[in-house]
């Protein structure tokens, strides 16, 4: 067998019985009361009966309780029928892995908890709590004091007190709200939309009962966008919804270049058209990609390279 010597429980029990018996014999030998024979008395008796001239105190004869002599053994980890007590016994390091298991459980609990925001009590709720009238000034001063308290370190000690004044607000999924149609002085329905693409920003007002006239920054599109490709981009949302000649559009756009501005106006007009159209068609537009902001921006130039991706010319020698 390898490792330190292993003592069984029965062996240790027998040793303890022998020690107690020996203690009583020793007490009788010394003429003292066996019941009140302490460890110090044992040491004195042994030193008297077996005098030793050895210098090392540990080498002299001693009689101590077996638990002090035999090193502590790990108790047997399984019951009478052989089944181990701990469910992770067969891993070898049961205590360590059970710690890991418990920590993982804590992580899962925290992640599954609904992350709720919290807000302070409103003035009315505070008035109800205190049963006193408050002025707006008093209320704002109190909230400022609470905010100051939150910024300090070691807030946990006062957390119970602070929690009386805050309420939990469950997080709600944001649903995209389609704005209803607005009506101007002439009684014509219109709606606005905003769109961006790279660095261009566009705002668009789409009027109903129109003839398909489109104005950009006060200029007609034929003059503003001489290239056919840009005009096709502007036309796409109307073409998709079969409303080509039915709407008028007034746009303002800034930033970017020629095709970027066209893309920005396209997104803005699609967003504006949502108010004129059924929910099913809005879903079709979304699937066609008309309502998605194009995330592509100019990639940064990196050091050691000529551009974002282009490397310097490789010279063999």
């Amino acid at each position: 067998a390898s490792g330190p010597e292993k003592y069984t429980e029965e062996f240790i029990k027998k040793q303890i019985e022998e020690f107690n018996l020996g203690k009583r014999h020793l007490a009788n030998m010394m003429g003292e009361d066996p019941e009140t024979f302490t460890q110090e008395d044992i040491d004195r008796a042994v030193a008297y009966l077996f005098p030793s001239g050895l210098f090392d105190k540990q080498a002299r004869p001693m009689m101590k309780h077996p638990t002090e002599i035999f090193p502590e053994q790990r108790k047997i980890q399984w019951g009478e029928d052989g089944r181990p007590f701990h469910f992770l016994f067969y891993t070898g390091k049961q205590s360590y892995y059970s710690l890991m298991h418990v920590s993982m459980e804590n992580i899962c609990d925290i992640l599954n908890r609904n992350l709720a925001g919290s807000r302070w009590l409103t003035k009315i709720e505070l008035e109800e709590m205190l049963l006193e009238k408050l002025s707006d000034d008093d209320y704002s001063r109190f909230i400022q004091l609470l905010e100051k308290l939150m910024t300090l370190p070691c807030v946990d000690m006062e957390e119970k007190h602070i929690r009386k004044f805050s309420k939990e607000v469950p997080m709600q999924l944001k649903k995209v709200v389609i704005e209803p149609l607005k009506y101007d002085e002439r009684g014509v329905a219109f709606s606005t939309g905003e769109g961006t693409r790279k660095t261009a920003k566009a705002t668009v007002v789409v009027y109903d009962n129109g003839t398909g006239k489109i104005t950009v920054n006060g200029i007609d599109i034929l003059h503003y966008f001489p290239v056919l490709q840009d005009r096709e981009q502007l036309l796409f949302p109307f073409q998709f919804l079969d409303r080509v000649g039915k709407h008028d559009m007034v746009c303002t756009v800034s930033g970017g270049g020629r095709s970027t501005q066209a893309g920005a106006i396209r997104l803005a007009s699609a967003k504006a058209l949502r108010s004129f159209v059924t929910e099913k068609e809005v879903e079709f537009m979304r699937q066609a990609g008309l309502l998605t902001l194009d995330p592509r921006v100019k990639e940064r130039k990196k050091p050691g390279q000529e551009g974002a991706r282009r490397k310097f010319t490789w010279k063999k020698r």
Partner: protein, 272 residues
Amino acid sequence: RAPSMAVPRLLRAGERVVPFPARPARVTPPPAVGASGLVLQSRLVPCKPVDDKLLSEPLSHPDFFNVKELFSLKDLFDARVHLGHKKGCRHRFMEPYIFGCRLDQDIIDLDQTMQHLQLALNFTAHIAYRKGIILFISRKRQFCHLVESTARECGEYAHTRYWQGGLLTNAHIQFGPGVRLPDLLVFLSSLNNVFEPHVAIRDAAKMNIPTVGVVDTNCNPCLITYPIPGNDDSPTAMELYCKLFRMTIIRAKDKRRQSEVFNELRSKAEGN
């Protein structure tokens, strides 16, 4: 009970197909491993005639614990058990269990899975009924916590960590003399983190310990006694397996407790 049931399985070395009626009515229980590693009369074998009846009665029914009602084909389909890996990852020995291949992804035959799952759950239930030790093994990190919780709830054991080489084969030096080895290993994923067959499959075969395992299309089903062809990567599939094993084990243990109480009452009545 039956390697000769209607499930087409690869006949392994030493296995002989015996026609069904010619089998003896009383099947001896599987010999468990005792202290010295030899096949001994272990704690599973009864001594009294009353216990004898207790242990032989479940063996006379093909589905004593009624495990068939725990799952249906639709449940397996909804839990995405039929999805396998891509064609390139396919293991040669999994070909009999694969239904087909769609867009390069293998689909596992759920009819065969149903049969194998029923056999495996029935076997686990019998082992749990006879108070055997069941060890759940899975080396998938995402499901480590789930498997350990399942084992804890059943009152059985789990090992989802790094497998030290001599755990089964060198148990007396690693744990201490007189340790009892598991009577069944349940693999909820039979590969380890480097996509090789888990060492415990081979060790269990060496120590004569039966194994039940979920084999995916890239696994080797050879040394596993009761393979269950099915997906081992989806969270839904793993939760389904854990739920099924947990229910069978708890059911079997409850049945055992009921039978013991019943027997005690009966013997008291007879004594009076």
